[in-house]
Symmetry: C2
């Protein structure tokens, strides 16, 4: 933070002090490149530019004059400070802490070579040597300081005292402020959640596994929810979880160390109670854990009242679904939600690293978009038998978006590469393990891309997100792996609903470690037909023919049995795809592209877009759109009239990705508050 | 990407090959810490663990045995490869490219010390020395390769040929694959948008300002929209913009270099047309620009048809608002939207760096939450005179959320620190420059935090976001600064609507460079009263008294005139704040906390939450909630029954932040598709 801070501060000076626009650009770039990193450098640069207004980037005289590329070694700083001390030795020894060190700092930061050093470092070295020479402040020093202040007042009035120059004062102030900012920034980062000494359990465990333990004289604070307690007369063991990871911290409470213990025991805090413990984190003598906390203080923050629905024994997922406001306190749901968090950030990181612009497409819309499903109507006219939508809030019938694609395309037509990531809605009455009424979609859209580029982008994207989860969520993935294995073992033999096969981590690795298969729709149908004919496959829908929409069983068979890895299917029949997909020469197929993955089926659907106005309108009409419908999409067709170009994009159902990454079997278990027919609790 | 990839690959091996859970944890941690970074190391580690199952993290013998901390210098690799070449010199010279280099690589990667090197590097060095020794492949080499393949077939059948061991093959395959992955990953990053040679203009300009120019023999491709064209007989100048930044690329087209030029000129492509240009990027001889492109090919991708509403002269923002699907093609809107993108990512970065979990709170809800405003109803029963909501899609009256706070609190009660960032809705009939019907909100919520911590968090958060924008959006901010200055100059004297005062960059710097003011509501009212009495301030609402809700004029006066910087106001009267805010001992005030900033007024509002069940319910009822209302919030009040603790959070209206960061005066200009009464276009 402090680095950002000082760069910003310099940019500010550039913006306000540069005399011409060219200078502003030039200096701004030097600051951005960190070639100009101190105000001293900037001042010299500004002075140089006054005399040489035409200077170009990279000019050697200019760079020399403002110290670009000069490195000042710590030893050089130390030597310079020592020299300054030596020069004024008598005065320092006499005035001690009343000596004007500020002025000394000002002089130092004007000295040849040393002036290019980070002023914070010079200040720190000066403080260090002061302490070494004078020792800590004594009572006498403090008294002397007061006296000097009193004396200083009238002196200031007569303006006789030799004051440091304004520049020196400013410089010193800056050095002090920067030193403070650094400390503040550091403190903010290490003091978790802005509460002194509070530590996260995951951090403690991670540190311990690296052999790092808190200072043994330092007391830490942890706070969280009790998972288990064991009262063994002499001592009480508590396993505490704070939601930072699946593994809790073992806390040992002994009456000799922890005076609160007796009182705490009386309160009978058990599973789910929220407590705060102060103590020392030490290497654990017990097997299976690296650290434990020896509590010196324990406080019950929130007891558990009657009727707490989460029992100590694990509840089935179906039951947990009735408590959407509490279920994240179980390990399985917390793991899923941490993976959801990491996946979300991976999505942003992937696109930001590639300079895609995040566009918030609207949730409220007057378009039924692609006719992708039934829409929810949004209105302030409920209860009217024959509502006049022109009188409604927006003056038109309004719905919840089913996809941000059409909107985001308009932004690609100006920014080139964009993505949207937000909630979308379907009012379909589907009570399945794969559908939600409210779910999140990721939809990138890129101008100047072709089908091959689109496939590469989609494949890289999926691999990136899964790699990120593999890297960041190790403990959560391993916990879920065990959870699923247990669930499979306990599952009745006659339950033939969807199963988790093999290890979750292994399935994810298979996806990131090999190139995806690529096949056209026409080839895919031929493959499926052949498998059927040869008796290798059986399908519920066994009437396989070109032009059909593949069902989930076909998609999964292709990925799981034929390719044994994700496969990209391209060039679908125009009839079964949306009107905006780019048509082939013959008009029979479109440049669509779906990615099918094992256990899930379709996870990504996309296409190159039709960028020819006439073809687009013709296909829209052939799909049943009226002239009025087409007219209402004129803003979308406009893109083909004004500066169009080949472009494309795809959509990823975020919860589908999470089913894949978590191994959960029901989509209602990978979103915090699932919405489906008949359910809108919390 | 390749780093992530190889770590994932190792984790996979750990998950599948470790014999016990403890080993899996141990090895997983070594991989995560990058102490085990090659499969060679992992294999040694697994072998060691077989003999020493009880080994703990940090064990010296273990780490020595699997090469933890060993660095292999490039020179050492080069020497080892040279030695291997020397040893088999005769065979290499005879077999040339048919020599089994794979086997040599396998041997090398088993050699002492060198076995700890990155296999990709060893492979690269081997390839380099091969080329140095043998020169490029000749026709004869290619022929020999074919012959060998033919010969190899029967040989393979009889299994007599000495093959490299399975481990050697695997190792070589991995080395090759990793080398390929690295190349592929590099290619994907440098080939913008998965189209070969396509460059982004901002990248070219940024590189040039650092003195980096593309290889002079290399042709680049740029694509975008024409800003200006100048036909000067001998040559045509085109300024092209691709949305990557406010500055375009100058393209010089000369008939001698560019055979397409004549054809292109006939097409009359002008402002807004989409073109693709191939050419060389060179230092520009012209003033005011560092580079230009000398086009060798130009292609019109999309002409501009009749009726293109964006004229070359800048349209006023009000007019641009009628074209939400086109306005991002103007510089001013593109700058705003790029800042929106950077701000969004800054929000995620801030919270992710502090280990907050991103929670997607629901958009559809059956709660009116805090009664913060009127709600939009969502239904599938439109047109029914007396709708029976139990028959509606969700079986209950459903609305669009006005805030994710209550929902996100339930997740803080399990994960400790969380945030939500998503769209929220208000059906208020407000036609102002500050209100939207659909807007985005950021709402962090933290368990175990107090009021001081909350203020520190909010202040750090705001400063972080603004610093990030200052650092990442320099060109955009400077463009907007000029834009606003021009707008102020051209503005009629009698127009007294809200103004931009001073430089945008300067305003932002003032916010990040000093601590925010902090004052209680009671003190704030006293200050305002005094300013009014002393004739320093005039207010429309001049009846200032304790208990009133401050208006925007009061908030802005405090920030702009009194503190001259952002100020945090705390401890508001309970009566004017929501039921969930923590009550003071006396019950008169609540631990609320609002941040007021110059030019905007309130930008953040938050509080510590009431964590006492009885107090919460009592205040809810005193605010007019019925027993039934309270009952419908039982999921929220449950949090106070089961493992409660002090906690708090705040909300930031994202578009308010953007008004601040962009200097725009109308909130409709900082969101891609604004929704307000009477408007839902696109």
């Amino acid at each position: 933070m402090d680095e950002q801070f000082s760069a910003s501060k310099l940019l500010y000076s550039v913006a306000t002090k540069a005399h011409t626009e060219a200078h502003r650009d030039l200096l701004g770039q030097y600051v951005k490149d960190e070639k100009i990193a101190t105000s001293q450098q900037l001042e010299c640069a500004l002075a140089f530019l006054k005399g040489h207004p035409e200077v170009a980037s990279g000019d050697a005289a200019f760079e020399k004059d403002c110290g670009v590329g000069v490195t000042v070694m710590d030893e050089e700083i130390a030597a310079a400070v020592a020299k300054a001390f030596e020069e004024d030795k008598a005065a320092i020894e006499e005035d001690r802490y009343q000596y004007n060190f500020g002025s000394m700092l000002g002089r130092l930061t004007k000295t040849d070579h040393i002036k290019w050093a980070n002023p914070t470092k010079v200040k720190a070295e000066l403080d260090k040597q002061t302490l070494a020479v004078l020792g800590p402040k004594t009572e006498a020093d403090a008294q002397a300081g007061k006296k000097k202040k009193e004396k200083a007042k009238p002196a200031a009035k007569t303006e006789k005292v030799k004051k440091p120059s304004a520049a020196e004062v400013a410089m010193q102030k800056e050095a002090e402020q920067m030193a403070k900012m650094t400390e503040a920034a550091k403190a903010a980062m290490s003091t978790f959640l802005y509460k002194p000494r509070l530590c996260r359990i995951k951090q403690l465990l991670d540190d311990a596994s690296k052999g790092v333990f808190p200072d043994e004289n330092q007391e830490c604070v942890v706070a969280g929810w009790i998972r288990t307690t064991r009262d063994q007369r002499a001592m009480v063991f508590v396993e505490l979880n704070d939601g930072s990871g699946p593994t809790g911290l073992q806390i040992v409470l002994e009456p000799t160390n922890c005076p609160d213990l007796e009182e705490f025991k009386k309160l009978g805090a058990g599973y789910g109670a929220c407590i705060e413990v102060t103590g020392k984190v030490v290497k654990s003598p017990a097997a299976g854990q690296l650290v434990e906390m020896q509590g010196t203080g324990v406080k019950l923050l929130g007891p558990v009242g009657d009727g707490y629905p989460l029992a100590k024994t694990a509840l089935p997922l179906e039951v947990l679904r009735s408590y959407p406001h509490l279920r994240v306190r179980t390990n399985v749901m917390a793991c899923v939600m941490r993976i959801r968090n990491v996946s979300s950030f991976a999505i942003h990181k992937f696109f930001q690293e590639r300079h895609f612009q995040y566009v918030h497409t609207p949730i409220l819309t007057s378009n039924d978009c692609e006719g992708a499903g039934e829409c929810f109507t949004v209105s302030t006219l409920m209860g009217q038998a024959d509502p006049d939508y022109s009188q409604d809030f927006f003056g038109a019938k309004s719905m919840l978006t089913v996809s941000g694609q059409l909107n985001v395309e308009t932004y690609a037509a100006g920014l080139t590469n964009v993505y949207t990531f937000g909630p979308t809605f379907r009012a379909e009455n589907s009570n399945t393990t794969r559908h939600l009424a409210e779910f999140w979609m990721v939809e990138p859209e890129v101008w100047f891309i072709d089908q091959k580029g689109l496939m590469d982008l989609a494949e890289d994207f999926l691999k990136y997100c899964i790699s990120h989860v593999l890297k960041e969520c190790q403990a959560d993935l391993l916990y879920l792996d065990q959870y699923h294995q247990r669930a499979e073992e306990e599952r009745p033999k006659d339950d033939d609903s969807r199963r988790n096969e093999g290890s979750l981590v292994e399935r994810l690795m298979q996806i990131v470690s090999q190139p995806f298969g690529r096949v056209t729709y026409t080839e895919a149908i031929e493959i499926l037909k052949k498998e059927l004919q040869e008796g290798k496959a059986t399908f519920v829908e066994s009437n396989l023919q070109w032009g059909m929409d593949m069902a989930s069983e076909h998609e999964r068979y292709l990925a799981e049995q034929v390719f044994k890895k994700p496969v990209i299917v391209t060039d679908y029949p125009a009839e079964i795809k949306s009107f905006y997909m780019k048509q082939s020469e013959c008009g029979k197929t479109v440049a669509g592209m779906d990615i099918l993955v094992p256990t899930i089926g379709e996870i990504i659907g996309g296409s190159v877009r039709e960028d020819n106005f006439d073809k687009l309108v013709a296909l829209a009409k052939s799909k049943g759109m009226t002239d009025k419908d087409v007219e209402s999409l004129s803003w979308y067709t406009d893109l083909r009239k004004y500066g169009s170009a080949p472009h494309g994009g795809f959509g990823l159902g975020f919860e589908r990705l999470l089913l894949l990454c978590t191994g959960m079997l029901n989509i209602r278990d990978v979103i915090p508050f699932p919405r489906y027919p008949g359910n809108i609790s919390c």
